[in-house]
Amino acid sequence: MKDRYDVIVVGAGPGGSITAKTCAEGGLDVLLIEKRQEIGDPVRCAEGVGKDALLKHIEPDNKWIAAEVKGSMLIAPDGTEIKMSEDASSNMKVGYVLERKIFDRTLAQKAAMAGAEVMVKTRATGLLRSNGMVTGINAMYMGETHEIKADIVIGADGIESKVGRWGGIDTSLKPGDIETGVQFLVSNIDPGEYNKFYLGEKYAPGGYQWIFPKGEHTANVGLGILGSKSGNVRAISLLHRFLEINMPQAKIVEMVVGGVPVSGPIKQTVTNGLILVGDAARQSDPLTGGGITNAMDAGKMAGEVCIKAKERGDYSVKTLKEYEDGWRATIGKEISRSLKVKNLFIRLSDEQLNQLAHSLDGVDARTMELPKFLAVLFRKNPKLLWELRSLY
């Protein structure tokens, strides 16, 4: 470790590693720190990801692909099944279920191979500042504190992000802005070929329950509930109940817990000398909870803006705002749409969800991606979904 870098990236998840890799490839001197001793572990993710969105960033590798899925299956409270997001023409598998422990480490390795320095078991404990600029971090490695300077600090420090708060950006989530989840990796089951989403209060109030295939006889079975609905019920007790009723033969071989931001875009993700990326910037999708590829897209944009900033010698908001504008114009649009849909869906009763499912009788949704699917759903149910009229 040196005492100065062009860029310090706090957090070696997908967003942080892509930022570090992009910066390093552009010739910047980069430090990527991870507070855990193992990158990618413990997992806090259901690990499902769309192929197209992922393959913009990385070549597929069986080391980190646990399973491939044909599409998604929505299950209404009364059991009505709707298949979607398939590629019916070629019968290609459209999604991966990842092995995040390997995937995240692979991305960090790619950042390292591009020239970034990587430090694990290293935690940021505060920001250095000078003349209204963030100028580096205080870090702790193996109990020893260090001051490390940088022109730009990237906060890619996840749901529990502190970097933004230290920089004066309020990233705190209200109970209605977070999905609180538990997942078991289970064995001794038939995982099927689809990512399954069980909707309704009976499964997961304000969220959904999922089964994602993870390979032979194995799946990620989990659920997330809206934080505002948590307290009297807990995600973990609902999940135990689901398993007892629906998968009594399942054997639990791993447990995962975690929170997913569903606040939608926050007001500010840059300040002088500071950029937030991924869950730290609350860039996960409020409807699906998916955050991997959004974080990677944002990381790429952040890295590119860091390179520009270095060329100009300007690390102020004036240059860094190009990142802010960039992500809002791309992933931000989808996140905003998803927020509107989520805000309506969390208020629907199980009966109304059943009604929506039945409205698709005779509709072949199999090849529809989510935006198209929602548009069709709106056309069939204008009254119930009237609130979404500006979107469709």
Binding site: P42, K121, I159, E160, K162, G231
Partner: protein, 58 residues
């Protein structure tokens, strides 16, 4: 300390840190620390997926 974390339940996921309105919580590697700025609002305890946090009455 006004929020007690049951380490035997806690899965150190950091969800509680994300919702703390005053930034009183911190996720170290495998445990949560609570500092003096805690206002005992209880949001962390409410949203914990496994119910590992409890607000103490002082």
């Amino acid at each position: 300390m006004v929020v007690e974390v049951n380490r035997f339940k806690c899965g150190y996921c950091g969800a509680c840190v994300g919702v703390c309105p005053v930034g009183a919580l911190e996720l170290m590697e495998t445990w949560i620390e609570v500092d003096d700025s805690c206002t005992r609002c209880g949001v962390c305890a409410k949203i914990c997926p496994v119910g590992a946090l409890e607000v103490k009455k002082k």
